[in-house]
Every structure is written in structure tokens, then in C-alpha cells.
């Protein structure tokens, strides 16, 4: 069934992406094995060991610990993995939803599905604990928050167990892990409902006075039913474009909502969009052929008509990744994220800024980043946050904003009176930044500048007032952008381009094309005649334009930034978050 998914990149798509005139730097590869030999053991205190107040069923306390065999250089950063919602029990090829398992059925070990990541992280000196959450999955649809708090409490319970292992020791390991875990340097990765679980856990732990030092949080294809907002911890939300389960990619809200939420937030935030990935293949236990029951390619199984989609379906020339390739993306970015933010391996930072191509272990280059720099004047100068109608004429630093030849030229997606949806007639699954959340349905989404042009003279300018003109300390001019697939001024399969000009106080200008530095102006793939299919999508990725390409202007005194739409006679885009950044 999966044979047609093995083509890594659509030939047409590869052609125009490769056409960008860039000389990319090479990132070190975070997905290769490290120097430590690795071992794994499990602890299991029983299927009904935990009862949570207000939660209607018992929960198991069962997890695996993957660790460096040589624990001499302890303590090690500690990473918690939490799987998502899935069937809980199986018998032969049949899957069931109950807990504990009855009638001779066995638990489905979803928590084992990320061992391929645990092994690599442990080989680099991490301890990785992967938690089973079948008891939550069995009944979480019967509680209002759909299990978010229960998942957070389960993680906290396991951290307390680890604290015991780490201090006095305890069964079944004795003192093996005494002093081995640095529980003030903790990271969490949650898949799907586990993704909201790790965000909710960060907030729970903080509300308890932060007994554990959670520094980095990685929601993988997450739900965001309740719209919790996470600040002051490093964040990367990985989103699979061909997700057939959480097909609206609602987890992008974690990034969007956190950006300007807490002044002085020094934590870096990222999104990682994987164009060829589905929901399930990150977990081997959920992958067809790797476990006897409950597996699915969610795109083909759950999306009516999805099989024939030219990008996410099974047709020749599609853009889908094989399960092995998809695991490569998860491995590279999850391992890289924790090595960067818990292991202080700063060489991986360019990967998460989108400043370098994905590494070989990712097994695809069609991965795109958004990056939000720390709220520190040395790291980021917000030129135009594009948060309300004021920003159509006056930007965040107080400079004038002007345009010519743009139509429409308005904001959408953010707080009222902006229209709630940027494409009002299109399904939510195609507009992740504004898709409503199940338990917070009135909360608005990302405010975006919606605009288009119909001749080569169109332009958009942001002036920088005195006092905001010295940008020499920054590495790039950046903004988030998506091609508007719905506007007929864009042609399916054809990427956009435009020029950016910086002008200094003496009137000197320097210009570059976005395509010279960035790959993000691609037409979102997957167009078809089926109107309910969740692709193409509006998804904003960060374009990073190095200031070094603007030769001949005085970066101590930049007076204006001009977007000049003189490369193509027509087009339409969404943008947000115009800034100078590190």
C-alpha cells in the first residue's frame, strides 16, 4: 500500500524549491548516534496505580527509561515523552478502547513508539522517560478538557517517581539512577493529545512553584483544545502538513499565542512544518506493518478522497514521506531541539531558525521553520507586529506604513473587528492559524496582513523613526509569510517572489530578492477539485533575509524597509511579524 509513498519529493515541487538562488550553510546533524552505549528498562507499578481527582478512570504508572550505560558523568538532562490518543488494548489484529484490558486483550504499548528517538538522545548523554497513558485515552473524551489536565498530572506523578529514583532510589532499579537525572534541566515532548499535555504540564508545574525545571517543550502534531499559552520555556511545535487526524494543525496556536504574550520572555519559539508527513508515522506502534493492531496511515484512512490527493495521497509524484523518512524528520528535530536547549549545543540553533537546510537524518529538505526571537532588544526589534488596524498605517516602532497598488490591504484572523477567518469560505482545516479550538471556541487566531497586487508597481513600506534605525546588531530581517492559494492571482505549483529594499538615512538603497535567501514563498501543495480536503493550507513560515546581503547601506541608520512587488505581475500573500532578529 505504501509503495507509492516512497517518492521523497514531487518532481515539480523540487524543481521550484531548488530554483531558489541560495548557498545554504550545512548544519551538524543531530540525528546521528552519539558516543554513549544505551540501555533501556521499564518500570510498571500497575494498570490502576494512579487515581486522579475528577478523572473517571484508573491510570497505569508504566514507563520506559532509556539511558547511557555509563552513568559516571551524571547527572544527565532528562526528557519526558508522552504519546497521544490511540486504542488501548488489542487481541490479534483487533483494537479496543478500554482500561484496564479485559478478556485476554493486551495493552498497546504506544509509549514504545518513540524508542528510535530515545536511543539517539541517550547516546548523546540524555535520560529519556517515555510514559504510557492508556488509562487516560480510554475515558478522556468524557471530561471537559479532553484529558489535558490528567496528562499534565500524570507527567508530574512520573517526575516525582523519577525524583525518588534520583535520590534514595527505589524498586525496580535500586540505586541505579541515584543522582543520574538532572531534574532541573527537563524537556518534554508530547505527541497529539500528549502535545497539549506537555504544555498543560508546564503550566501545572509552574503553578506548583516549579519543583522540576522544565526548560524546553516540544508539542508534536498537537491538539490545542483548551488554548493554554506557554511562555518562558523554549518551544518548537512540529506540524505535519498531511496530518489526517488533527488535520487543522491547530497546534500552531501555541506559537502564535505565545509570541507577544509575556513582555521580556527570553525563550525562543519555533514551528517546524513537515510537508510530507502525516500524524501517525512518528510513532512506530501506530504505523502499519510495525504493530499488529490499531495502525493506520491517517491521511488515507481518515480523509475522504484523500488517497487521490496529488500531494498527500498515494498518486505517483506525490509529496508524502515513507514511514522511515517521516521518523527521520522526528528524530532530527526532536533530538536537535533537546540537544540545543537542554544540552546547550548551540550549533543546532541555525537549524531551528530555518537558516540552514535540514540535516541528512531528516531525510527530506521540505521542512520549514517559523522563528520568534527572545524579547530582548539585542535579539529582536519588532518593526510591525501587524496586530491591529493601527499597524496598517503606523508600525510597532511608530514609523509610517504606506502601500501602493495593494488590494486587498487589510488584517484578518486576529481580534475583532478583524474578520475571524482570512478565507471565509474555505474550511478550517486549510487555515490552521485561525481554526477554532474545541474547548475555547471564541478565542481568535493569528492577525495577518492580507494583501495582493495586480501590477509591477505595487509596494509596501515600513519607515523606521529616529531611535529605531540602528539594526547593525541583528543578523536578519525576517517576516512570516504564506502564499494565498485561494487567490487566483497565484498559480498552483508556482512560487512567488518579490524584492526587498533597505534605504538608509543618506538615501542609499540596497535590494535583494526574497528567493535569494529563502524557500518559503512556495505555493502550498495539494490543490485538487475536492473542496473538503484539508490541503492546500495557509501556513506562515519565516523568511529570513540576512542583513549582510544589503551591501552599500548604513545599517546604523536604516530609514525604511520596502517590499517591491516587481517580480511578478500579480500575486497575493499573508504576512505577519516583520522584525529584525538574531
Amino acid at each position: 500500500m505504501l509503495s507509492s509513498l516512497k517518492t521523497p519529493i514531487s518532481a515539480t515541487f523540487a524543481l521550484f524549491i531548488a530554483g531558489a538562488q541560495m548557498a545554504w550553510a550545512q548544519s551538524p546533524d543531530p540525528g546521528t548516534p552519539g558516543p554513549h552505549s544505551v540501555a533501556r528498562q521499564e518500570y510498571n507499578f500497575g494498570d490502576t496505580a494512579l487515581t486522579l481527582t475528577g478523572f473517571p478512570g484508573p491510570i497505569e504508572l508504566h514507563a520506559s527509561i532509556t539511558y547511557p550505560v555509563d552513568l559516571a558523568s551524571r547527572p544527565f538532562p532528562t526528557v519526558i515523552f508522552l504519546h497521544g490518543r490511540h486504542a488501548t488494548c488489542f487481541l490479534g489484529a483487533a483494537a479496543f478502547l478500554e482500561w484496564p484490558c479485559t478478556s485476554g486483550r493486551q495493552p498497546i504499548p504506544s509509549f514504545q513508539g518513540y524508542n528510535y528517538i530515545s536511543d539517539i538522545l541517550a547516546s548523546h548523554g540524555f535520560i529519556v522517560v517515555s510514559i504510557s497513558a492508556n488509562g487516560i485515552n480510554a475515558v478522556d473524551n468524557s471530561v471537559f478538557d479532553l484529558g489535558a489536565l490528567a496528562r499534565a498530572e500524570l507527567i508530574q506523578e512520573h517526575l516525582q517517581i523519577l525524583q525518588t529514583f534520583n535520590t534514595t532510589g527505589g524498586d525496580p532499579f535500586g540505586t541505579l539512577f541515584s543522582g543520574a537525572m538532572d531534574l532541573n534541566n527537563v524537556g518534554t515532548m508530547g505527541h497529539s493529545r500528549g502535545g497539549e499535555g506537555v504544555v498543560r504540564h508546564f503550566l501545572l508545574n509552574a503553578s506548583l512553584g516549579s519543583p522540576f525545571g522544565v526548560k524546553a517543550v516540544f508539542p508534536l502534531a498537537p491538539v490545542d483544545f483548551n488554548r493554554p499559552v506557554l511562555n518562558n520555556a523554549s518551544l518548537d511545535v512540529m506540524l505535519p502538513y498531511c496530518d489526517g487526524d488533527v488535520s487543522d494543525l491547530q497546534g500552531v496556536h501555541y506559537f502564535d499565542d505565545a509570541r507577544y504574550n509575556v513582555p521580556g520572555d527570553l525563550a525562543r519559539k519555533h514551528t517546524t512544518l513537515v510537508l510530507g508527513a502525516n500524524h501517525n508515522f512518528f510513532n512506530t506502534i501506530w504505523t502499519p506493518g510495525l504493530f499488529p493492531a490499531g495502525t493506520a496511515d491517517d491521511w488515507t484512512a481518515f480523509v475522504p478522497g484523500g488517497t487521490s490527493n496529488p500531494w498527500c495521497g498515494e498518486v505517483t509524484g506525490n509529496g508524502r514521506l515513507s514511514p522511515e523518512q517521516q521518523r527521520g524528520t522526528g528524530l532530527a528535530y526532536i533530538a536537535g531541539f533537546f540537544r540545543l536547549y537542554l544540552g546547550s549545543e548551540s550549533a543546532f540553533l541555525p537549524l531551528f531558525k530555518g537558516a540552514v537546510l535540514p540535516p541528512p537524518s531528516a531525510m527530506t529538505t521540505l521542512i520549514f521553520q517559523s522563528y520568534h526571537a527572545p524579547d530582548d532588544p539585542r535579539s529582536r526589534l519588532d518593526v510591525n507586529r501587524l496586530l491591529d488596524a493601527t499597524n496598517l498605517s503606523t508600525n510597532t516602532v511608530g514609523g509610517a506604513v504606506t502601500q501602493s497598488g495593494l488590494s486587498p490591504y487589510d488584517l484578518c484572523g486576529g481580534l475583532a473587528p478583524e474578520p475571524r477567518f482570512c478565507l471565509p469560505t474555505e474550511p478550517n482545516t486549510r487555515q490552521p492559524h485561525t481554526t477554532p479550538s474545541a474547548r475555547a471556541p471564541t478565542v481568535r487566531g493569528l492577525s495577518q496582513l492580507r494583501f495582493g497586487w495586480s501590477d509591477l508597481t505595487a509596494a509596501y513600506e515600513n519607515e523606521l523613526p529616529p531611535g529605531s534605525r540602528n539594526v547593525r546588531g541583528f543578523a536578519v530581517l525576517q517576516f512570516r509569510v504564506s502564499v494565498n492559494y485561494f487567490d487566483p492571482r497565484n498559480t498552483p505549483g508556482v512560487s512567488k517572489d518579490f524584492a526587498i529594499s533597505l534605504t538608509d538615512g543618506s538615501g542609499n538603497s540596497a535590494m535583494t530578492l526574497v528567493s535569494s535567501s529563502s524557500r518559503v514563498l512556495f505555493f502550498p501543495p495539494g490543490s485538487s477539485s475536492l473542496t473538503d480536503i484539508p490541503v492546500p493550507k495557509i501556513f506562515l513560515n519565516t523568511a529570513r533575509i540576512p542583513l549582510s546581503v544589503f551591501s552599500g547601506v548604513n545599517l546604523n541608520n536604516i530609514r525604511s524597509i520596502d517590499f517591491l512587488f516587481d517580480q511578478q505581475a500579480q500575486g497575493a500573500l499573508f504576512i505577519s511579524d516583520l522584525a529584525f532578529a538574531d
Partner: protein, 96 residues
């Protein structure tokens, strides 16, 4: 084949609507919804045998009052078209 198996008042005075289908209700991370007329209900639990062919939706008494006999009954995942059609609801089946 899709069947409304029962409509019962439970011990908490909520109303449980048990649905059976030969097409399994997959265990997904997206929210599964019962749609009756223009109203949507998200609280659910599996049937007592753990089979994926049964799902029980739980409505408060107030929610049940607001639905009307004859309203269409479908099940689907949030933001998606309905995947199961159960015809029209008959409120007179409550506790029968």
C-alpha cells in the same frame, strides 16, 4: 449499518445515547462529535466491552431538552464532514 441502540437516563440524570455501527469509530486525537440537528455534543465514552463499534454520547438533561424529535443524527470528527449517519432522533425512545 448504523443504529441508535438506546437512549437512557443515567444515575447522574444525564442522557446517554448509545450508537452502534459496523464501521468502527476510530480512536483518534481529534474530537469525535455527535451532531443532532444544528447542535454538537462532544462528551463520549466507549461501550462497556471496549469495542470500537460502539460509542456512547452523554448529554446533560438540558441539552437533551433542546433537541427535537426528527432532527438528523450524525457522528463525525471536529472540522470534518460527518462519517456516520443515524437517521433522525426519536426522543420518545428515552428510557424505553
Amino acid at each position: 449499518m448504523n443504529v441508535v441502540k438506546s437512549i437512557k437516563t443515567n444515575q447522574s440524570s444525564n442522557v446517554e445515547i448509545e450508537l452502534k455501527s459496523t464501521k468502527e469509530f476510530p480512536v483518534r486525537d481529534a474530537v469525535i462529535e455527535l451532531r443532532i440537528g444544528n447542535q454538537t455534543f462532544k462528551r463520549s465514552r466507549p461501550g462497556p466491552d471496549g469495542s470500537l463499534n460502539t460509542i456512547i454520547f452523554v448529554l446533560t438533561n438540558d441539552e437533551f431538552v433542546r433537541i427535537n424529535t426528527g432532527d438528523s443524527v450524525t457522528v463525525g470528527f471536529s472540522h470534518e464532514p460527518p462519517g456516520w449517519n443515524f437517521g433522525n432522533v426519536d426522543k420518545t425512545l428515552l428510557d424505553k
